[in-house]
Amino acid sequence: MKGILRIAYRLLVNDRGKFAALLVGMTFAVFLMISMTSMFAGILGKASATVINIGARVWVMDPAVFTVASSIPMPDYVLDAVRSIEGVRYAVPLYSGSALVKLRDGTYQAVTVLGLDDASLFGRPYLVEGSVEDLYSENAFAVVRDSEFPKLGNPRIGTEFELNDHRAVITGIAEVAVSGLFGIPTLYTTYNRAIQYIPSMRNTTSFILVEPRSAAAVPAIERRVRELGYLALTSDEFKDRIATFYKYQTGLGTNVLLMTVISFVVGLSISGQTFYTFILENLDKFGALKAIGARGSVLTRMILFQATFTALTSYGLGIGLSSLVIFGAKLRLPSYAATVTYRNLGLAFAMVVVIAAISSVIGVRRVIRIEPFEIFRG
């Protein structure tokens, strides 16, 4: 470290009270920003849970569909039409719906039911208990063991319940990558059983899952599907569509954005004010340095270094604190939706840089304007 930066460092950290106040303020701001954005990222991740868990590369749907939960059934001919598109290796139907199950103790529980293509069971989850073939047995359902699993009374293989007056039997316990957003258990069964058990409209195909022959074939498939009057999206495009829906059409994004902005403003005001006070209290020292012969650029470097050091330290502490809180929350609440993503970290870093920059500018403007003569006059 260069000598003058070492001096700046000691001036900063040796003033323990001020330094602690600066760290607390900025760490709190980083903590808030990361917590807010991580919760939002977690919610968006859970909102796309089915897309992630099913794993299809291309999804065909009605153009008015924005989430998996709000599917609009398509007529059967669409499946045939999609299958006939050049570049499609195969295409299978997916049923997605919700139902009420009656447990053995007489209570009801809402569930999400996913009906997989009978022939291929494409999109089936990983079974930790039971075998895939058992899904073909009579009244068979696989249940996902996630944070909602206890709501079905922690079923085991062979557990029975009623679904729309139909007998249902658990033949498999599954695990998936991401659990759902709405806090209800998920059941997998075959497509035909799903539409047989759950009251449906005339059309029953919620989505068509497409495996293209190659990535290059995807644009042509999307275009041909559009010509049919439907919408084909890659899984990433569908996840973006879902995220866009939650961000801009539910108020969720606006609320999180507002809270993030508020935490930014709180952080900026705390650290800006504290840093400015720090500069004011050391103004005579900066003036003395200027009188002794420090150039304006040297003083600017010192202040920039102090602000940057504080910002980066706070950034690290804020990440640590928010990660710790999220980890702790997930231990207590398995369904807690929060995911620290690189994008969140990048956003928080950018905001911290802005806070440091504004704090520095305030300090530098004040220090550059000091007249060393004022030091002589005391």
């Binding site: 070492r6 040796n14 002794i292 420090a294 150039r295 003569f373 030091i375």
Partner: protein, 232 residues
């Protein structure tokens, strides 16, 4: 005859505007020589500190020139002027302006650090200057642990660390008791003043006049006279 260290010519300084405009220094010209201890003396408000600030490069005069080694310092750019202060002038402020968060050694090393001397070398050099002022054994302490006289000595060590041609003291005895003040100035005259250095000292403390070589008497911003204070 000693050579001229710094020269002030027709120096004027106005402060304020309109009715509040004040003529703080009026047509002051003088020469300060190497090897001498030159006092600027006068009552409060006579323009002593303003004059000292102009000749040390921290307050631009309204008119007039300050020349060091044939160069008008007020014709310099801001950065050149900062370099001039760093290399040619050593400051001992009235309130010392030491950094309480740094050690005594680090305080003394500041001019060396500003001159981009490598850190360890700067500390090695600074300890030598602390030794000169008799505070080598206090190097690791923060200035707040030192007495007023010791703090004054640290400020002197800091001022001489860059080996300046001109040392300026602003009211060096103002914060010290009479005995300590006399000892400090005596020390400065004996140990710090050399043939290649000029010391300019602002004071109105008559108890230290015995150490002056010449005394510039200021009054109402004017230089009334320059007295030769050396014993004949």
């Amino acid at each position: 005859m000693a050579s001229v260290a710094i020269q002030g010519t027709d120096l004027n300084k106005w402060f304020g505007e309109g009715d509040a405009r004040t003529h703080a220094v009026r047509d002051v010209s003088f020469d300060a020589f190497f090897g001498e201890m030159l006092y600027i003396e006068g009552p409060s408000g006579s323009g002593k500190t303003t004059l000292l600030s102009m000749i040390s490069g921290i307050l631009r005069p309204t008119s007039g020139h300050v020349t060091l080694e044939g160069q008008d310092i007020w014709a310099m750019t801001d950065d050149q002027l900062a370099d001039f202060r760093l290399n040619k002038i050593g400051f001992v402020f009235q309130d010392y302006h030491l950094f309480p968060r740094l050690t005594t050694l680090e305080n003394a090393a500041i001019p060396l650090v500003l001159k981009k001397t490598e850190w360890d070398r700067a500390m090695d050099e600074a300890i030598r200057y602390l030794d000169v002022v008799g505070l080598k054994d206090r190097a690791a302490l923060p200035p707040v642990k030192l007495s007023g006289g010791e703090q004054q000595r640290v400020a002197i060590a800091r001022a001489i660390a860059s080996q300046p041609d001109v040392l300026v003291f602003d009211e060096p005895t103002a914060s010290l008791d009479g005995d300590t003040g006399r000892k400090i100035v005596d020390f400065v005259k004996r140990e710090i003043l050399t043939d290649r250095r000029c010391i300019i000292l602002v004071t109105h403390d008559a108890r230290i006049f015995e150490f002056a070589d010449r005394i510039m008497k200021m009054e109402d911003g004017r230089l009334r006279r320059i007295e030769d204070a050396r014993p004949h």
